[in-house]
Symmetry: C2
Subunit: 196 residues, 2 copies
């Protein structure tokens, strides 16, 4: 009995995040209230507050869900076989693609990520730490295979992510939208040359 209650509670939490994400896409996260989310789910605002003590927690949870999607895609690519340089290229290109797609098609949702970065939400740091670990894992494999020169894989991961920040930072994506160069491929070539 206790377990089924826990499952139900978890489902409700997921539903709240799902509805919040849809409303953030439609009207923007700043204009969406807890009352709006509750209304869509035919529950009371008080019930929403049982799961999230403040609207800010819902904002972070939606952000977290999408970061989780990016991390899952990155982990899947990191597990693929083949040369580390190919895996690294495919990982960076795929993150850029996921970010660019959200930026182009969900401008309202993109604002949530801009605010998360502007206000230094802790989940953005956790996300970048996770991405660094995934990058380091690929670089470590490349170093072990003699494809990259031996060295500090964790540091190399941070350097690659910093060099590529223009393609995944929500604010820079807006600012650089009209700049044709450097393309992702050019920047990946540059990073691979630095690692080789």
């Amino acid at each position: 009995m206790k377990n089924s209650t826990a499952v139900k509670e978890n489902d409700t939490q997921i539903d709240i995040i799902g509805v919040a994400e849809r409303l953030f896409q439609e009207v923007g996260f700043q204009k969406t209230t807890v009352a709006d989310i509750a209304r869509e789910l035919r529950m009371s605002p008080a019930n929403v507050y049982r799961f999230f003590s403040a609207k800010a927690e819902i904002n972070a949870a939606v952000c977290r869900r999408i970061f989780g999607e990016i991390e899952a895609a990155a982990e899947k690519i990191a597990r693929s076989s083949g040369p580390a340089s190919k895996t690294l290229r495919s990982l960076i290109a795929s993150i850029e693609d996921l970010n660019a797609r959200r930026f182009l098609s969900d401008r309202k949702l993109h604002e949530l990520f801009e605010t998360a970065h502007n206000e230094n939400w802790s989940i953005t740091h956790e996300h970048y730490e996770k991405m660094d670990q995934i990058l380091a894992q690929i670089i470590r494999q490349g170093m072990a295979a003699g494809e990259f020169k031996a060295g500090d894989a964790e540091l190399a991961a941070i350097l690659v992510r910093s060099a590529c920040i223009r393609y995944c930072h929500p604010r820079l994506m807006v600012e650089c939208a009209q700049d044709p160069e450097p393309t992702t491929d050019q920047m990946i070539d540059f990073c691979l040359a630095a690692l080789a």
Copy 2:
């Protein structure tokens, strides 16, 4: 006679920019009005408007003056003799230092640069184009000397600037202020390895 009038007009323009910059440092550019600037210079707002048709033009002129300072420092370093890798390291470190100093000591003035980037003012693009030219000149010399591998120096300059954006972009400087790594030196090593 005409020349001395032109010199005087130019002096007044420089005075307006100088006073504006000081007020931007003291109270912030958003809180500084044209009337405040005129009062400090003991002139009428109408006289200020003879030189700048709107407050936005004064904002851009202050930004432009400081960008000019960075460009002059970069050009001086670019003219120095010695290996291109040494010149490049010293150039990037010096830009980072100029930006960091403003960021740390003039937080109010720093807001002007954040806004210039946020709102995509054309002077920021002109500044980055100028910096790219200076970087390309050093890289071209390194390529000619066989220090860097031959290739497209203009593209290499854009890649180096993009990779180092964390150290000169006003928004990223705020966001990354607590991140110890990568240091400027680590990033320069990474870029030099990519060019070598």
